[in-house]
């Protein structure tokens, strides 16, 4: 027996409701986040990730209450991301009941924030989210770049080097979203997933583009991810968590059943 690969349903939350965009644009309503989280908990999800995509202050307060409600009813690890910019934001989410926070754009704007956060709260609760897009063309060596603002803004940063730097600064886990594939359901970008997973000593969560259960298997085996994150295939009941876990086990992957 060994450490299980984790399945993490991800809930994009806006103004207190779960939504999931296709290519970050088209929004469909998938329900109350606490109810959705409870459903996943009962089904045997290994963790839950909430990504707050709300832009307003009022919406942010709603998120704190949502996290509080969820944390008093669901007893598996909870990661909260989206709009985490200061140690105060982290303190608020941890106090509300989050176990980890995910830092995205703020790490790009101010990498030192990652170190400050890890020193203050411990690496175990600092996840750095990386949105990467392939920028090399056919025939060139593979190269992936970090993008921000929902994939619209290139940064010129090499994704693999960036991941290593984030871990050096104290990130305890990397949440890697391959942007060119997110929401289009062609599977994870296995190249960048594997490159980053092999380059860092902390766990890597693969995210972006899951459309079927083979994608989860590939993410673990070819992508060498330590955890696989998916949203819409679970939200719209295309597959259940137990189905996904059984499928992974049938393909030789250690899971918690």
């Amino acid at each position: 027996m060994a450490l299980a690969k984790r399945i993490i349903p991800c809930l994009d939350v806006e103004n207190g409701r779960v939504v999931k965009g296709v290519k970050f644009l088209d929004i469909r309503d998938a329900g109350d986040p606490v109810e959705v989280a409870k459903r996943y908990d009962e089904q045997g999800a290994d963790e839950i990730t909430f990504l707050d995509i709300t832009a307003t202050h009022e919406g942010r307060d709603t998120m704190v209450h949502t996290v509080e409600k969820m944390a008093s009813q669901v007893f598996i690890p909870l990661t909260v991301g989206g709009g985490i910019r200061t140690c105060e934001d982290i303190r608020t989410m941890l106090n509300a009941g989050a176990d980890k926070v995910s830092i995205n754009s703020a790490a790009v704007t101010n990498p030192d924030f990652v170190r400050e956060a890890a020193e203050r709260f411990g690496s175990q609760c600092i996840v750095v989210a990386i949105d990467a897009k392939k920028v090399s063309v056919e025939g060139e060596p593979d190269k992936w770049e970090i993008f921000t603002h929902g994939g619209r803004k290139p940064t010129g940063l090499d994704a693999v080097e960036w991941a290593k730097k984030m871990v050096d600064l104290g990130a305890g886990e990397i949440l890697l979203t391959s942007m060119d594939q997110d929401g289009v359901k062609n599977g994870y970008d296995l190249g960048v997933t594997r490159a980053i997973s092999e380059a860092v000593h902390v766990p890597v969560i693969a995210s972006g583009g899951v459309g079927n259960l083979d994608h989860l298997v590939e993410g673990c085996i070819e992508g060498k991810a330590d955890a696989v994150l998916a949203a819409s295939i679970f939200h719209f009941n295309e597959y259940s968590i137990p189905q996904a876990k059984q499928y992974m086990r049938d393909h030789g992957i250690e899971v918690r059943l």
């Binding site: 450490l3 007893f75 598996i76 509300a96 902390v202």
Partner: protein, 215 residues
């Protein structure tokens, strides 16, 4: 109604453990506190902890939590340590260039290392993060209704090796064999997070709230 003191020394998220205790035993009085009087008068004591051991030990000493822990353990009331609250009971941790701990148990806390490998030579990530199987090595009231080999949620980069193997209550393997639970008289301590380990974790907390402190 019984009361439990969750010792608050400013490190980490105590909300989860408090909520989990209230969930398994509605009406239990959970005191998240470092006040010696409130700890002393509680029926049960829980020492949690996350983060770096140096900071944890510094706060434990600054707030006098070391004395509270010794007193609680000596009193015979049920005592549960979780994660860094387990590691802190050992003699010494090699984290942060070496930190002296409370020395309630003989043993050390060691680093997994950054070149950890499994039996097949596959590299293992550190921290050890996620659900791993816990092999119970003794019968104990805290293992009631928990299958041997159940998976619990872990997140840590340092592991305990207890010197007195007869006190080890469970082991785990992650590149190395290590001790994930220890038991002596009224004390039980675990490396994993029962408050984050879904059904089996809630069962362990329920068992703790039902326990009279006798092995």
């Amino acid at each position: 109604m019984s009361s439990i003191a969750v010792i608050d020394y400013g490190m980490g998220n105590l909300h989860s453990v408090a909520k989990a205790l209230e969930h398994v035993q509605p009406g239990v009085e959970v005191r998240v506190t470092a006040d010696p009087a409130l700890v002393r008068s509680a029926d049960r004591v829980l020492l949690p902890g996350v983060g770096a051991i140096r900071d944890c030990m510094a706060e434990i000493r600054r707030l006098g939590v070391d004395a509270e822990v010794r007193e609680a353990i000596a009193s015979g009331k049920p005592f549960l340590g979780i994660c860094v609250g387990y590691q802190a009971l050992m003699q010494f941790s090699e984290e942060n260039k070496g930190v002296d701990c409370l020395g309630e148990f003989e043993g050390r806390v060691n680093f997994f290392g950054n070149d950890l490998k499994d039996a097949d030579g596959e590299r293992l990530k550190v921290p050890h993060m996620g659900w791993n199987t816990v092999e119970q090595t003794i019968d104990h009231p805290l293992w009631a209704n928990i299958d041997n080999g159940s998976r619990f949620y872990f997140v840590h980069s340092y592991y305990v090796k207890a010197a007195q193997s007869e006190l080890v209550a469970a082991t785990c393997n992650y590149g190395v064999d290590f001790d994930v639970a220890i038991a002596r008289d009224n004390v039980f301590a675990v490396q994993f997070h029962p408050e984050k380990s879904q059904k089996v974790g809630l069962q362990l907390l329920q068992n703790f709230l039902n326990w009279d402190g006798r092995p």
